[in-house]
Amino acid sequence: MFDILDKALEVGRDLGATYVELRGETGFIEYIQMDDLRVNALTQRIERGVAIRVLMDGAWGFVSTGNMDALDQAVRDAFTMARAAAKTRSDPIQLAETKPHEDTIDIKVKRDPRQVPIEEKIKYMRDLTKVVQDFDRRMVAVTVKVRTASGTKYLVTSDGTRIQSRDLLVWVYPWVTAKEGTRLSAARYEDASTHEGWEYMDRVATPEAIGLAAAKRAKLQLEGVAAKAGSFPCILGPRVIGVLAHEALGHLSEADLTTNSAFNGKLNQVVASEGVYMTDDGTMPGYLGTSRYDDEGTPSSRVAIIKDSVLTELLTNREYAAKTGLRPTGNARAESYLYPPIIRMRNTYFERGDAEPDDMFESIDFGYYCADFRGGQAQTNASFQVGLQEVYEIVNGKLGRPVTDLSISGIATDSLMKIEMISKKEFPFELGRCGKGQEAFVSSGGPDVRFAKGGITFGGKT
């Protein structure tokens, strides 16, 4: 692959392009879906393709192609398109300087998903389905999705970067429907690894662990009481505070969004209560959003977004590092050769505080403990929404009844100031996917965090 990429790179150099980048991919990708024990889709594919970006006259040209025999022409097209884009720009796009890297990154995999027999994967999904069905007779429908990937990515740039890296994924996602009388409910769960092979499914994301996680939540949804509407004191558990870190704050800290967001002009200003630290870290070994380099060849890093309540750093790629004068943080990520890299989070979390776990519930007469989410969404005016699938009432300082479908919202810039306590307890990360026009695997987390009344709005019944 490097040979044909190098040859095409020369075409861009000969044309006089400011910067040329080629990302080649080749690999095995698999998707299996089982609905109520019926295999509804089972596709294995070998896919290859190249993404070409050319910077010329201060604008980008991008071509994605699966035709490996026409890369020279694709580079010429990208060059011409960049020039067409450039003619309307008043200020040229520039890239922050980075050190070129030559590297080969392999991941030692015990069980390459490509080599695991289909029969074993189907058995895994059947076992998972049965775990759910056996958990409670009210589990009426179970969909299980499994994705795996095993391939190689190649990056060459006109700056001299030349990186070969392993592309790996094992992913499982059950959706469970529960029914009692006319009442229907549902819950989902998700687990994945980008650093281990099928052994992750044997060791961590077992049918029992994943099936029970989904079934337990569907049962709680079925038995939950309706939520009240309004603002209440609340504690957001690790999975929910993580998604809040991602949705409400992480996106505002992506430099391509910051300029037009409520975080604009707030660098080095206090944006949260005292003692709040929030970080995006692409270097944590084995975590879902971790990789040694981003898709521009910049090493991943630890980004201190909020440091002791002050907005300290933003997530950047080379273009926005140059625009903002901040360092390139290695957050340029592309879903595949079909897309150009854009600024994305990796592993985003609130850091632990100093509150004793037992003190977190103290003096809450009525409130909510939010344990798990179904989805979330943010807007640049700092408005966030998180749909929840596991919530409990807090009554007189104690965990109470489960609550059914509900979502919470707030204006992040206000909510951050309402943080009262941050637990010192270790926390697990939630693993999932983020959509920003293209998919990225990310993780997020944090300890239990308590918000005062007025910080979070509960969208229940009025």
Binding site: I29, Y31, Q33, L37, V39, N40, A41, L42, T43, Q44, R45, I46, E47, R48, A59, W60, F62, V63, S64, T65, G66, A78, M81, A84, A85, T88, P117, I122, V140, A141, T177, R183, L184, A186, A229, G230, S231, T259, N260, A262, L338, F373, R374, G376, Q377, A378, Q379, T380, S383, F384, Q385, V386, G387, D405, L406, S407, S409, T457, G459, T462
Partner: protein
């Protein structure tokens, strides 16, 4: 309207050069070849769908055109049966050699999987109706300079239309798609379509307010996209959002823009009218055909044949003719949507709503263009009579609704406060919660002029006594 196609050749890059391009005939031939190979390898039924796509677009970031992008690809998805065992495969290499390998992958998948006793047959040949206007030759000749000029012009107009309006993101472009579907039962259908589009996303910041991002777009089969409408749509909404209003918790009149209700319906009602969900016990309205499930002012249908629909095609993704299917007629539930597999299982006919994820091989059921029948009064006349209410243009969090129960709890953003018949300003952090069936039952009026969105055609809908939760 923006639409004068430039005759001069400003660059050498065409959307797709002739020598790169497969024809409909090429796609059919390659699909037929793969079907033959599957049969040779012992498949008793095989279906091959192919799509050749070519897209050229320009992006804007921070008020300037940042890039021009081109994506070219041809894809083949194969679904075959060994007895009653199914296997799928995909390739993006349009050659016979690659198809040989792909058929082999599908065969090995089918051999490894379990039997589906309920599978009956792939679709039979149907009568496909020609739909006028899906193809405009001028789109295929589009060059980078055209998309750049279109986008640059729209950005300039937007900046001038409202003080502080920053076109933060946006895109203008064209897409050419050729499709073919062939199966071993005699289905062999091909078609082609073009799209031209412009989308702008605007935001503004004042000393005290950052507005939400407001997007507006137009998608046509030609290059004639409506720039002034998009600019006016964004500028007027940004203007309103610069003013902050205080919402009030309680039961209030809420007007949902089609942007907002299309999202809510997609994750609730539209999941429940899918035949597979009906058959699997996942639909709350599975036994409600002929019953009232919405206000009698609501008539909603799925139409895969309307020339104005972005998702209109001659055939669905397994080659079955598209059609118009009534879902709700004056509040009464009339039909569900079906693909061939689930229609066969339930003894009904496919409604031409099969959707295939080419790369994943998953064939499921999806709406095409959801159409809401219009009412009689313009939205401005309706608003002028509202004492206190909210116009919600978009929602956050519709995807976290519970599709099975229909419960939702979302943030309206922007949510515009209406007082004494006037739109006053944006109420930040305003939530709307409820159940989709209660909401549909509380619809009191549909506005007159439909908006043409991607996948939805309809005017605003007015709902009464909706649970609104204001931020404290």
């Amino acid at each position: 309207m923006y639409g004068s196609q430039r005759e001069e050749s400003l660059s050498e890059v065409r959307l797709r050069r002739t020598e790169e391009m497969e024809t409909e005939r090429d796609l059919i031939d390659l699909c037929q070849y793969a079907v033959m190979m599957g049969q040779k390898m012992g498949a008793n039924a095989i279906e091959v769908q192919s799509q050749a796509n070519s897209a050229l677009d320009a992006d804007v970031e921070l008020g300037q055109v940042s890039s021009v992008n081109k994506r070219v690809g041809t894809e083949f998805a194969i679904r075959l049966y060994y007895g009653k065992r199914m296997g799928c495969a995909f390739t993006n290499i349009p050659t016979r050699d690659a198809l040989d390998e792909t058929v082999k992958l599908a065969v090995s998948a089918a051999r490894a999987t379990t039997e589906d006793k309920d599978w009956l047959a792939l679709p039979e040949p149907g009568k496909h109706k020609a739909i006028k206007g899906l193809w405009q030759e001028s789109v295929t000749k589009c060059e980078p300079s055209w998309v750049v000029d279109l986008l640059s012009d729209a950005v300039s107009r937007a900046k001038a239309a409202e003080e502080g309006l920053m076109p933060a993101f946006g895109s203008a472009g064209v897409q050419v798609t050729l499709r073919a579907c062939v199966n071993s039962g005699g289905v062999a259908v091909s078609e082609k379509g073009t799209l031209g589009f412009l989308v702008l996303v605007g935001v503004a910041q004042t000393e005290s307010v950052t507005t939400p991002m407001i997007d507006s777009y137009d998608v046509q089969r030609s290059l004639q996209v409506d720039v002034p409408r998009i600019v006016d749509d964004i500028a007027s909404m940004i203007h309103l959002c610069k003013n902050t209003s205080k919402g009030r918790t309680g039961k209030h009149t809420v007007i949902l823009h089609p942007n907002a209700y299309s999202q809510l319906l997609r994750y609730t009602l539209l999941e429940s009218v899918r035949g597979d969900n009906v058959a699997r016990g996942k639909s709350k309205i599975a036994d409600k055909i002929g019953d009232r499930i919405a206000s009698d002012i609501l008539t909603i249908y799925d139409d895969g044949t309307t020339p104005r629909g972005v998702n209109t095609t001659v055939a669905d993704d397994e080659g079955v003719p598209r059609q118009r299917t009534s879902l709700i007629e004056k509040g009464i539930l009339r039909s569900f949507l079906w693909d061939t597999y689930w229609a066969n299982r339930k003894g009904v006919k496919s409604t031409g709503n099969a959707r295939r994820n080419m790369r994943q091989g998953l064939v499921d059921i999806a709406t095409t263009n959801l159409v809401v029948s219009p009412g009689k009064r313009e939205i401005s006349d309706i608003i002028s009579e509202i004492k206190h209410g909210y116009l919600i243009r978009d929602v956050q969090g519709a995807h976290s609704a519970n599709p099975e129960s229909g419960d939702f709890s979302v943030v309206g953003n922007p949510a515009i406060l209406i007082e004494d018949g006037r739109m006053v300003g944006a109420a930040h952090g305003l939530m709307v919660a409820g159940n989709i069936y209660s909401l549909l039952g509380s619809a009191v009026e549909v506005a007159k002029t439909p908006k043409y969105l991607a996948g939805t055609i309809g005017p605003e809908i007015v709902f009464r006594d909706v649970d609104v939760i204001a931020k404290e």
